[in-house]
């Protein structure tokens, strides 16, 4: 079902964060902390699982485009006892586009997401921490994320929760109302919202995804049960088009035993 028992889910996810990190010999979690809903929920879970001092929220704005979000992130971090580090990514991003200029907002947005990824992974070494992912199930299924950017992480506690479920979890975790009410945005450009860009409300996207994915019902059946035809078709197309973002890239098979084909070991091998 779509409804979750938020206390139970929080307990499972905290155990997941703690156990997965400890198995690999880590005690600290690092995350990109935008002040939006997903990263705030992830920060709150990580603080509960690992202790606030073992969580580093990396606040990585481009210039001062989202100063409200930065303030929200900092305020929540104080409340959770989470450490933060603020790095303005504009010098790195601007340096690149000064040499290779573009007006393409998608290219600029992707570059920013990957710049943040590079900074997170760089900090994982001196911090001796692992990157906690914040991509939710809605984003993973619709491909609404930058591959090797915000989708990159060591473990992802939120990847099996739809956006609307993440919000329910955020309410349970007593996140500030400002964060809970925020219009979700990938922050690729000022004024952008996910719902504006996809052209559908999250409540509708999630309800359709639930029917297609969790209930595994064919699109025609979902439409016949009362969902808007164009919305269902659009979401189905998004899922199919973004498969590559959810997979390791295919490896050309030559030998008898090949990585990704028949060299089959669990991620948690010997842990």
């Amino acid at each position: 079902m779509m409804e979750i028992d938020a206390a139970f889910v929080a307990k499972v996810l905290c155990a997941f964060i703690r156990e997965e990190l400890h198995k690999f010999g880590f005690h600290k979690g690092i995350l990109g902390f935008s002040g939006g809903l997903d990263s705030s929920v992830c920060a709150a879970l990580a603080a509960r699982a690992l202790g606030g001092k073992n969580v580093l929220g990396m606040i990585l704005p481009y210039k001062d485009t989202y100063s409200d979000d930065v303030e929200d992130a900092q305020a929540l971090a104080r409340k959770l006892g989470v450490r933060t580090r603020l790095i303005d990514i504009s010098p790195m991003v601007d340096a690149y586009f000064a040499r290779y200029p573009t007006e393409d907002r998608k290219r600029i947005g992707n570059k920013m997401a990957r710049e943040r990824m590079a900074i997170l992974y760089d900090h994982s070494i001196p911090e001796k921490g692992l990157i906690l992912g914040t991509s939710n199930k809605t984003e993973l299924l619709t491909g609404y994320g930058t591959i090797h950017g915000d989708m990159a992480c060591a473990i992802n506690p939120l990847g099996d929760l739809y956006k609307t479920q993440v919000r329910a979890l955020g309410t349970h975790l007593r996140l500030p109302a400002r964060i809970l009410k925020k219009a979700p945005t990938a922050g690729l450009w000022p004024g952008q919202t996910d719902e504006g860009e996809i052209g559908l409300k999250y409540s509708e996207i999630d309800a359709i995804l639930y029917e297609l994915v969790d209930e595994r019902r064919p699109a025609e059946e979902v439409i016949a049960s009362g969902f808007n035809k164009d919305s269902v078709k659009k979401i189905e197309a998004l899922i199919i088009r973004s498969e590559f973002k959810r997979k390791m890239p295919p490896i050309a098979k030559i030998s008898a035993r090949t990585v990704g084909h028949d060299f089959l070991y669990p991620y948690d091998r010997n842990r």
Partner: protein, 282 residues
């Protein structure tokens, strides 16, 4: 009799670490005055083994790690899960009942879930039998995880005269409910309730906890009495050693009330099955 359900989290692919975990848990159960300790499915190896299967497979009659556990059964009965290698290169998802320093019985998982998130038949050979065997507490029968969800398997242990049905499991939690449990937890209890009542046996179910590759094993181990009453339930997803006292006289009491066992007609079932199999035109 006192049973200990060892709802543990094994280390994936680490026999030695898991040996220590077993011995510590057995010691705790012994201090708790348990007579029988039940470990989960593949407790000695972890569950999501894939290509690790041949690397952790062992011959229980010879392997030093397994022999240490057999030795620990001198004063307390044990059930555990492991990868068994028979002959050369046939690997089974097996459960063993150990007692008085010997292996009393080995059950090899018959129903290997393969589909969706499960791929056991890619890595294991299927077992071919369900049988009962004598223990100091009565006749017992073993099942491994998915075996239990095929009700024909439960029938065979019933027809074989089981007093105790022991199920070891590594069942991941799946699906949300309105309450603090995974949706799949109800499925296991449903079968536990049904088999215990209609077989007039104890059903002892031990599931593991912990995470492997993102899967949360759901725990929620339980025991049902021979009248279909739940006697004990371990917490969902938390490590725990649960002790429970079983009154073995309850089996007789249940069979006085409900004569399912007396009235069973296995020869009719067998003939009907032979007819069904013979009719199979595929």
């Amino acid at each position: 009799m006192r049973v200990a359900l060892a709802q543990i989290s094994s280390h994936l692919g680490e026999l030695r670490k898991n040996l220590d975990l077993h011995l510590e848990t057995i010691e705790k159960a012994r201090r708790g005055k348990a007579h029988l300790v039940i470990f989960p499915e593949l407790s000695l190896t972890g569950y999501t083994l894939m290509d690790l299967v041949p690397e952790v497979a062992l011959d229980p009659a010879r392997h030093p790690v397994f022999q240490k556990i057999v030795a620990a059964s001198r004063t307390i009965d044990l059930v555990l899960g492991f990868v068994e290698e028979r002959g050369k290169g046939l690997f089974y998802n097996s459960a063993a009942y150990l007692s008085r320093g010997r292996i009393s019985h080995i059950h090899r998982k018959v129903f290997l879930p393969t589909g969706g998130m499960f791929e056991e038949a890619k890595f294991f050979a299927p077992g071919k039998a369900f049988g009962t065997f004598a223990t100091s507490f009565g006749n017992a029968g073993l099942m491994v995880c998915r075996d239990f969800l095929h009700y024909g398997a439960g029938y065979l242990l019933f027809a074989g005269g089981a007093d105790l049905v022991i199920v070891i499991s590594a069942a991941p939690g799946r699906g949300m409910t309105a309450g603090p449990v995974f949706a799949t937890s109800r499925m296991w209890e449903l079968m536990g309730e049904a088999i215990s009542f209609f077989s007039t046996t104890f059903v002892i179910y031990c599931n593991r906890v912990g995470f492997e590759d993102g899967k949360a094993f759901a725990g929620g181990s339980f025991i049902f009495g021979p009248s279909g009453r739940r006697l004990v339930k371990a917490p969902e997803t938390e490590e725990k050693l649960v002790l429970a006292d079983l009154r073995l006289d309850d089996i007789r009491a249940a069979r006085k009330k409900w004569t399912f066992l007396r009235d069973d007609r296995p020869e009719v079932i067998l003939r009907s099955l032979e007819r069904i199999i013979g009719d199979d035109g595929d």
